[in-house]
Point group: C2
Chain length 239, copies 2
């Protein structure tokens, strides 16, 4: 313990110790995201993050108000990875679609980070950046500010909630100890089909008769279906 301070340590050792000691909000958030990526949302605890930084949980509270704030910061940091092309109102439908798909891609690339999405009202800088982009696109398209505001709100909720739903499946997959989403998907669809098929046909005629249709589409297809539903609905609001 004391040897590091009494005897001048070799330079590389010192550099490392300094890196370890210089805690900062950014370092904590990055570490938290790394833990989440590697071990999932449930494994993300203040102790786990602190351990990764070689310290105790109390040290984090100088830079982060609590776990809720940490989750918000991690989530907003992930939103920062969303790449948004220059807005072109003439192609607004296409660009809104691309934004939603890109957002989903980023969210699903970070394990079940989406479980932090709906836990609070997003208000970080990157959340604002995305909101500004979508709002500008919708107003540029010709929607009234009111419609654009509502469209932004509903689109954001849709993207978040779909990613959230996906993250629940991710957590289930992880809990079941499965390797990849392929194995989980076939397994889950299979049990779902068996379950629907086993239902009494007199009480659940429509479900029983449409098992194939009910399990036909995967997560991405369902996401796109709802997305296009919303975009088409917004387009219909144009004068």
């Amino acid at each position: 313990m004391g040897s590091n301070t009494e005897v001048p340590p070799p330079p590389w050792r010192k550099a490392r110790a300094q890196v370890r000691k210089q805690l900062s909000q950014e370092l904590i958030v990055d570490t938290g995201l790394r833990v989440l990526d590697a071990e999932g949302f449930d494994a993300l605890s203040m102790r786990r993050v602190a351990q990764e930084l070689g310290t105790g949980p109390a040290s984090l509270y100088a830079h982060v108000a609590g776990k809720d704030e940490l989750l918000e910061l991690i989530y907003d940091r992930v939103l920062g990875e969303i790449r948004l092309p220059d807005p072109d109102p003439a192609r607004w439908q296409e660009q809104i679609r691309a934004y939603a798909i890109e957002a989903q891609r980023v969210l699903t690339s970070h394990a079940d980070v989406a479980r932090a999405a709906m836990a609070s009202i997003p208000s970080g800088p990157n959340s604002l950046r995305v909101a500004e982009y979508v709002l500008g696109l919708l107003i540029g398209a010709g929607l009234t500010p009111r419609d654009a505001s509502l469209g932004l709100d509903r689109l954001s909720l849709y993207v978040s909630s779909d990613a959230y739903e996906g993250s629940v499946h991710y957590a289930r997959m992880k809990a079941a100890g499965m390797s990849g989403p392929g194995e989980y998907f076939t397994q889950f669809i299979g049990s779902l089909a068996r379950y629907f098929g086993s239902l009494p046909a007199d009480r659940f005629p429509y479900i029983s008769a449409n098992v194939d249709a009910l399990i036909a589409d995967d997560g991405e297809a369902r996401f796109l279906y709802g997305l296009d539903l919303i975009i088409a609905g917004l387009a219909a609001k144009l004068p």
Copy 2:
């Protein structure tokens, strides 16, 4: 401790003890929902439910696999309160709309129970009952089974996610110690407006210029807006 067993207790005492001792899944679920209604989702713990039943938490595990299952059961029990009129395919848009509004009404009438909505894949009997109703309505309307299945899926997600978002606000309101939703709403809208107004107009031109529109609609109006967006989109799928 031992006095109850050695000396025969008076009959009314015995009767009471019997009532207390006859645990059942239904009793546990009802008690859990009562706790949730009165004290909110965060206060709902196995210990709290057990305490309400005059016992320890270990006693619950004979009737309920764990907290996750208890939450699922409570959620499904709430879904059982959704009243569904006889389906009339000719008025399917109206009835789908009524279903969604009724579902939201029921969910918001039980504090922030909606926070249990998206934690798992709903598969309880009442969830199935609602799904059967919606699916039948959409197929009866003339949608293909594929469109009806996707519509059911997206509608369910939409209703759940909106209620979930509302429950987050509920929890925030409760945490802030506010009395009713009115106080919270004005407070929240006010701070949101101030926040949007304080943003640099050069980086967030659209948000800055449309603060009024952004905060114009309350939760219910936003819910109905998105709901009608989806219903109109589904109607457009009809041949």
